[in-house]
């Protein structure tokens, strides 16, 4: 084994074009990590301004009626780990406004600097090994077994099975080592650069690296298998590109379109908002009808009636609307769970799902954010009604305690992570065996 490791190390790292390509991958990964780090720092700076602005805004309000109408903004903060996955998340710089209106808003700002943040596909640390690493691994898989004449020669020295297995293992060892060191090295650099990662974040990054390596091994074995399948022919390069394109672009896109089609069963968000609005209007109509019937109601009695209607609103319409929103969110969750299950079917689709979630800005981050908005909104409505109709305070007290208006996204791996790992490992084993099965025929028969 040591002889194979030594020889394959020389083959891989003694070749100038390989070194150029690996340096390119390392440099671009470092560049996008640095750029993610700078965006993370910029976000932290803007977060401070955001908090100051929100505090100042409340101090300028003159009544709780105004507070209810303006509400307060809620900022989505992803974990520091997201700097490695800046472009892989689903949510990009989102915030929400919590007020007494019925529609829940989740928005992204494009004002000022944020207008220039849009990067396009794969331009983050997770994207570089995915695009260029996979291309490189496919090519390395293609070169791995050299050719039929070489295989015939080597099978005279040792069994073909031994040569095939040890060559593949040795090459994968060095290539994996490169990507592991690249990932861990950049992680350590960011850490030394002043970004603190908690223990769960460190574990998630390690598990992400594990899947990345497994995915790249799958691509390597795919390259090896395709080469054997096409009998080491020179026209292989066209096939190489086709296989790469299918794996990296086509299948993830097909998966996305399929999920989009599944999401069509969801009710329109506008319709949900309209239903909620109608529920609210039904209650308001009751109040208007009361005023029509009793036009000369004294002001203190009117205030009592307002309070009564507000309590009625909390215990009826608001609950119905919250129920509508929760049901809608659970329907969305079902579609997300469907996508998660579907993405396990192929390693590249699962990789995209995984990076989205590891960024903390994925689908589950969105669900957590929506749940948090609804909880906060429920508390805010109660606070608002209590202060508006029961309190005689002149100055407006802020609802937001500490940093409640910052949503700290929980980072987590998909629940199906180990299924994804297992499925990819099975793909690897299948490709390894399939290539060997064909190899015997390719090497020795005309």
């Amino acid at each position: 084994m040591r002889a194979f490791l030594r020889f394959e190390r020389r083959r891989l790292f003694g070749e100038k074009k390989n070194l150029i390509f690996l340096s390119f991958i390392a440099l671009f990964s470092a560049y996008f990590t640095w750029s993610g780090l700078s965006e993370f720092r910029q976000f932290q700076a803007e977060k401070k301004i955001f908090i100051r602005f929100e505090k100042e805004k409340v101090s300028q309000l003159s009544s709780y009626a105004q507070y209810g109408a303006f509400g307060f903004r809620l900022l989505y903060e992803a974990s520091p780990l997201s700097l490695f996955f800046v472009n892989s998340g689903i949510l990009q710089d989102v915030e929400s406004n919590i007020d007494n209106f019925e529609a829940i808003k989740v928005e992204s700002s494009f004002k000022g600097k944020k207008l220039f943040l849009k990067r396009g596909y794969f331009k983050d640390f997770a994207g570089i090994p995915f695009i260029f690493g996979s291309l490189f691994m496919l090519y390395m898989g293609h070169l791995g077994l050299v050719g039929p004449a070489y295989l015939r020669f080597m099978s005279g020295r040792m069994s073909l099975k031994k040569f095939y297995a040890l060559t593949t293992i040795a090459r994968l060892f060095w290539l994996d080592l490169f990507f592991i060191l690249l990932g861990l090295g950049l992680f350590a650099l960011v850490h030394f650069g002043g970004v603190f990662f908690s223990r769960p974040e460190r574990n998630i990054f390690l598990l992400y690296i594990l899947f990345l390596v497994l995915l790249l091994n799958f691509i390597y074995l795919l390259g090896q298998w395709t080469t054997v399948l096409l009998r080491f022919r020179k026209i292989f390069f066209l096939w190489l590109f086709i296989v790469w394109f299918i794996c990296i672009f086509l299948l993830p896109e097909v998966n996305r379109i399929s999920v989009f089609n599944q999401s069509r069963v969801l009710e329109s968000a506008e319709k949900v908002n309209l239903d909620k609005f109608r529920n609210l209007m039904a209650l308001e109509k009751k109040f208007r009808d009361y005023l029509k019937v009793n036009p000369s109601t004294p002001l203190d009695q009117l205030r009592q009636m307002q309070k009564k209607f507000a309590v009625q609103f909390i215990s009826s319409s608001y609950l119905v609307n919250a129920g509508l929103e929760t049901r809608y969110l659970r329907d969305v969750e079902k579609v997300i769970a469907g996508q998660e299950r579907q993405s396990i079917l192929f390693p590249t689709t699962f990789y995209q799902f995984l990076t989205g979630e590891a960024s903390g800005k994925g689908f589950y981050g969105y669900l957590d954010f929506m749940d948090y908005i609804m909880k906060l909104r429920s508390r805010f409505i109660q606070f608002y009604l209590k202060k508006r109709y029961e309190s005689d305070e002149v100055t407006v007290e802020s609802f937001v305690q500490h940093d409640e208006n910052i949503f700290h996204a929980r980072i987590r791996l998909p629940a199906t992570y180990w299924f994804g790992v297992l499925a990819t490992a099975l793909y690897c084993v299948a490709l390894f065996l399939l290539a060997f099965g064909r190899l015997r025929r390719q090497a020795f028969l005309p």
Binding site: R2, A3, F4, R6, F7, R10, R11, L12, G14, E15, N18, L143, V146, G147, A149, Y150, R152, F153, S155, G156, R157, M158, A443, F444, L445, P446
Partner: protein, 226 residues
């Protein structure tokens, strides 16, 4: 000793038909055929890559792991077929680390006058003749008692042919049985101890080198193989 007994194989258009021959130690036997027609198939069968329909092949009187008792030297065109991105020296180190005798390999390279500076070159950078020298040296390094060669000098320069002959004669002097599958009757008349003619998988004619010298070899070739 290499013994082929009643070897038959049907494989699409080419086949072997009850082929029997024997090569003793210290003998060079050249089995002539029309260019590549039968030799590739026979080489695959002899090297154990393809099983015959019937018959048997014995090396030193036994049926055993052929790779352990014989060196099989296949035709190679250039280093491109062995493009491992490695330097020649690295490749030799690897072969030696997997059990090849470094001493024997270098001895064979010296017979071919292979210069040390070529060890630093990448395999693809070697001229075809130089690459063939390395390949040959590696194939012969295990010092097996039996050697089977498939048309190795086809298209080679005379200089390389002479080096190859030198190696071959050295092996013969060490008592090895050498079976050469080829198509060059003039080359055969120069170096072989015995010559056989095979056509459509059937052995047509066998002669000693001494007998061959008295014959019109070109006429014989045209008569038997064209």
């Amino acid at each position: 000793m290499i013994q082929v007994r009643e070897l038959s194989l049907e494989c699409s258009e080419v086949y072997l038909d009850s082929l029997s021959l024997e090569v003793t130690g210290g003998e060079i036997y050249i089995l002539l055929n029309r260019l590549g027609q039968d030799s590739d198939l026979l080489f695959r069968v002899l090297s154990g890559s393809q099983a015959p329909t019937s018959g048997e092949i014995l090396f030193d009187g036994c049926r055993q792991d052929v790779q352990a008792v014989a060196a099989f030297i296949d035709r190679v065109a250039s280093g491109a077929e062995f493009e491992t991105e490695a330097r020649v020296g690295d490749w030799i180190d690897f072969l030696c680390a997997t059990g090849l005798s470094r001493e024997n390999l270098y001895k064979n390279l010296l017979v071919c006058n292979f210069h040390e500076r070529h060890l630093k070159k990448k395999i693809r950078e070697l001229a075809p003749e130089l690459f063939k020298q390395v390949y040959l040296a590696a194939c012969l390094a295990p010092e097996h008692e039996n050697i089977v060669i498939n048309d190795f000098i086809r298209g080679a320069e005379k200089g390389f042919e002479l080096k190859f002959n030198k190696l071959l004669l050295q092996q013969k002097a060490q008592g090895r049985a050498i079976l050469f599958l080829g198509g060059d009757i003039l080359y055969a008349s120069e170096i072989a101890d015995r010559v056989g003619f095979i056509k459509n998988g059937h052995l047509l004619f066998e002669a000693d080198a001494a007998e061959l010298k008295d014959m019109d070899i070109k006429g014989l070739y045209q008569k038997l193989l064209n």
